[in-house]
């Protein structure tokens, strides 16, 4: 939590020597609070004050970055409990757990299949973020081979799940050249695990059922010089998840409690006590940073990835596309002309549908300030005037031989007025839902 100017002033020498370039220590403190000056400008500030000030300016939840052979993921650095207060910034990573006991061939196949997973949601490419490779065999050589196999099939970031230092060591060796998350240190092994993580410069997860246990571990590891830590609160069901994830976020944000100011890793399917998809959805809404799934199930993964996208959308800015003229399936002078709004969800529902139907078409995307058809219509951002303006501005009249324009069925009421605003055009009312565009064109478009 940021300090106020006065709080900072209390930590300065209070000699008003002016060497920082400001007339008084207080003036300097005010500039520091406003982030318009650097602490290093004062040569006399004590080491103790310096440490306090630096700690206070660090984000309450540390940003943790991991990297694969290609591709990075950063989580943490969140600042609010509820998305409307600002926004949630760093989408939690979704990982798939793989066991070294499966053997290299199976692992390669599984990793390759999940690595190739790609779903398009309103023009955003949704994928899995990486793999959590577990040393279930207990054999360092097998574990190293498993990691090599996964790396040969995927360049995505890894989480190394190793329960003992010798497994961790083999895993880190095999993952060299990437920056995996090492999982996990506990009360028994934290020293050795900490040394390994420090030497390899990788983030380390700590595991404990209790908040006290977690804070003790991060406290010890921080003292040992580690900064990049992740918390594993060992969550098993819906209620313990919600409670502990909420408490961790509150302690970090409201109490600025450093020992728990780290991202959190969860395993929603591991305990078998909950429906993996439902619990993962809870973890997405409520504060997880890394989510490790047991099963690769495209249908469920797609739903979870979309939820993650939705929850992490900036509430201030609806996702939108550039207004203008869009060509679908290489339209020619005979192709139908349709108008829609520039809200991403609206645009892509229509564009994907038209594309899938095989019909070539021109899409006139009006500037409706990123709102859906009915929302924009109700807000006066998708009225006859705006539509007419857009149709004229994109110059579609020069590109087609006909004079017919199709409007969304939801705004059928606009057709009369539009006939006035676009006198040369025949206004056709399309179906209400984009799914029906193909059959609508089939029935009505005779050109």
């Amino acid at each position: 939590m940021a300090l106020t100017g006065l709080e900072i002033y209390k930590l300065l020498p209070k000699t008003n020597c002016k060497e920082c370039g400001f007339p008084t220590c207080l003036a300097f403190a005010m500039k520091l609070a406003a982030k318009q000056a650097e602490l290093s400008a004062c040569p006399y500030v004590s080491e103790e004050s310096k440490a306090k000030l630096e700690a206070a300016s660090a984000p309450p939840i540390r940003l943790i970055e991991i990297a694969g052979d290609d591709g990075k993921l950063a989580v943490g650095n969140e600042t609010v409990l509820f998305r409307h207060e600002k926004t949630f910034y760093h989408r939690p990573g979704l990982f798939l757990r793989l066991l070294d006991t499966d053997g290299p061939d199976d692992l390669k196949r599984k990793a390759a299949e999940a690595d190739a997973y790609k779903a398009d949601y309103v023009g955003i490419n949704l994928t899995l973020d990486g793999f959590a490779v577990e040393a279930a065999s207990g054999d360092p050589a097998k574990y190293a081979a498993a990691i090599a196999a996964v790396r040969s099939a995927s360049k995505k970031p890894l989480i190394l799940m190793a329960s003992s230092p010798d497994l961790a060591k083999a895993g880190l060796e095999a993952a060299k050249g990437t920056r995996p998350l090492l999982h996990a240190a506990n009360a028994a092994n934290w020293q050795a695990m900490g040394e390994l993580a420090k030497a390899a410069n990788v983030p380390l997860a700590v595991r404990s059922e209790s908040l006290d246990g977690l804070a003790e571990l991060t406290g010890s590891l921080t003292k040992a010089g580690l900064q990049d830590l992740v918390l594993d609160p060992d969550l098993t069901g819906y209620q313990d998840s919600l409670q502990r994830l909420t408490l961790l976020r509150r302690l970090a944000l409201k109490k600025n409690f450093r020992p728990l100011g780290f991202p959190i890793i969860t395993f929603p399917g591991a305990s078998g006590k909950a429906d993996e998809t439902v619990l993962a959805a809870e973890h997405i809404a409520k504060y997880a940073g890394f989510i490790v799934l047991e099963k690769f199930e495209p249908a469920s993964l797609y739903a979870l990835l979309v939820l993650r996208q939705n929850i992490y959308t900036d509430p201030q800015k609806p996702i939108q596309v550039q207004p203008g003229l869009y060509e679908i399936n290489n339209p020619d002078t005979k192709a139908p002309v349709m108008v829609t709004t520039n809200f991403s969800i609206t645009y892509f529902s229509v564009a994907n549908e038209v594309e899938g139907s095989g019909w070539p078409a021109w899409l006139v995307v009006t500037d409706a300030e990123g709102m859906s058809v009915l929302t924009a219509w109700a807000a006066g951002k998708f009225d006859s005037e705006r539509i007419a303006k857009a149709v004229k501005a994109v110059g579609i009249a020069d590109k087609v031989g006909h004079r017919k324009v199709i409007i969304p069925g939801q705004v059928a009421v606009l057709s009369g007025e539009l006939e006035g605003d676009l006198p040369d055009w025949q206004i056709m009312v399309g179906p209400k839902e984009a799914v029906d565009i193909g059959s609508f064109l089939k029935a009505t478009w005779k050109n």
């Binding site: 909950a274 249908a299 469920s300 899938g356 109700a378 799914v435």
Partner: protein
């Protein structure tokens, strides 16, 4: 080290609303359902245990709907053709409440009628002893024409009736007043609009203990985040003591989740969308899960498996804090 658990102290709490009337209160329901009463954000049991579980309702229609997903028709089968059968099937599937939506037209395409609305409500009340909701098709004139007789038929049963919207609430509220029912007050994803409509309804003389807010539900992938945040804001306002936001919240993930392409369409969709049946059910379940965490009190679903999944979620969330 013992970490002090940070607890919020709130000034306000959610108002309690009771649906359904047993013989003790002049109705014929086997039980009542009380919603609300929370004094903390959703399911933070360590702060203030929620006094009542949320109500999980299943939606049925007065006749077989033409636009429901084939996956739903497979599940409900023959029962869909008869509201009494359907209500029974929904009760057997574990619903707490039956949410009956009347259609704009009858099976032969003719406009739905007051007599039919009355008859259907009677059938459903006779077929199930659970509390019920009856709402119109969402077109002002038809709603009024159908809901008034429906409300009369269920007089004294403390049904949930609706849907009240800013342009159309007077007739429905009057029917609730005359026949001792609760109303569903719907506004498009906006905290202030939501409060305003509650005030207007309350001004007509309906006690606040008989109003449930419908903040408008968006499906996963189609605007869920707007409703989600409006619900969180309404709930925070309620806890801060803003009286007109202290109503229980109703959401409709069944209707919204099953309306979208992901749930409706099984063929010609991207391979990454995976198995259709699973995707459709996850769409409803994930939408519902998110809304449960945003503070939903009455959750209207369509698929019995989703009901089962959401039931284990809320049962677990409500268990006493460990």
């Amino acid at each position: 080290m013992t970490i002090e658990i940070p607890k919020e102290k709130w000034a306000g709490k959610v108002r309690e609303v009771t649906l359904g009337a047993t013989s003790a209160d002049g109705g014929t329901r086997i039980r009542t359902i009380t919603l609300g009463g929370q004094a903390a954000m959703p399911y933070l049991q360590f702060e203030a245990p929620a006094p009542h579980p949320p109500c999980l309702a299943l939606e049925i229609r007065d006749r077989k709907p033409e636009d429901w997903s084939q996956l739903l028709s497979q599940i409900w089968g023959e029962a869909m053709a008869d509201p009494a059968q359907w209500a029974k099937a929904a009760e057997e599937a574990g619903a707490d409440m039956i949410y009956l939506t009347l259609s704009a037209t009858q099976a032969d395409g003719k406009p739905n009628t007051a007599e039919n609305a009355r008859a259907v409500v009677r059938k459903v009340l006779d077929a199930t002893a659970l509390p019920i909701a009856v709402v119109g098709p969402g077109q002002a004139e038809i709603d009024n024409e159908l809901i008034v007789p429906a409300a009369e038929e269920g007089k004294g049963e403390r049904m949930l009736i609706g849907i009240c919207e800013d342009k159309n609430y007077r007739t429905i509220v009057a029917a609730a007043l005359a026949n001792d029912h609760i109303v569903q007050s719907k506004t498009p994803m906006d905290v202030n609009l939501s409060k305003q409509l509650v005030i207007l309804i309350h001004d007509m003389g309906l006690p606040l203990e008989r109003i449930i807010i419908d903040p408008t539900t968006g499906s996963l992938g189609y605007g869920i985040e707007y409703g989600y945040s409006v619900m969180e804001r309404l709930r925070l306002a309620a806890l801060q003591g803003d009286s007109m936001t202290q109503q229980p919240l109703i959401v409709t993930p069944g209707e919204e989740g099953w309306k979208v392409k992901e749930a409706k369409v099984g063929e010609g969709v991207p391979a990454a969308w995976g198995d259709w049946k699973r995707r459709a059910q996850d769409w409803e379940a994930v939408t519902a899960t998110a809304l449960v965490h945003a503070g939903a009190d009455l959750i209207v679903l369509r698929h019995p498996d989703t009901l089962r999944r959401v039931r284990s979620l809320v049962d677990s969330l409500l268990a006493p804090a460990a």
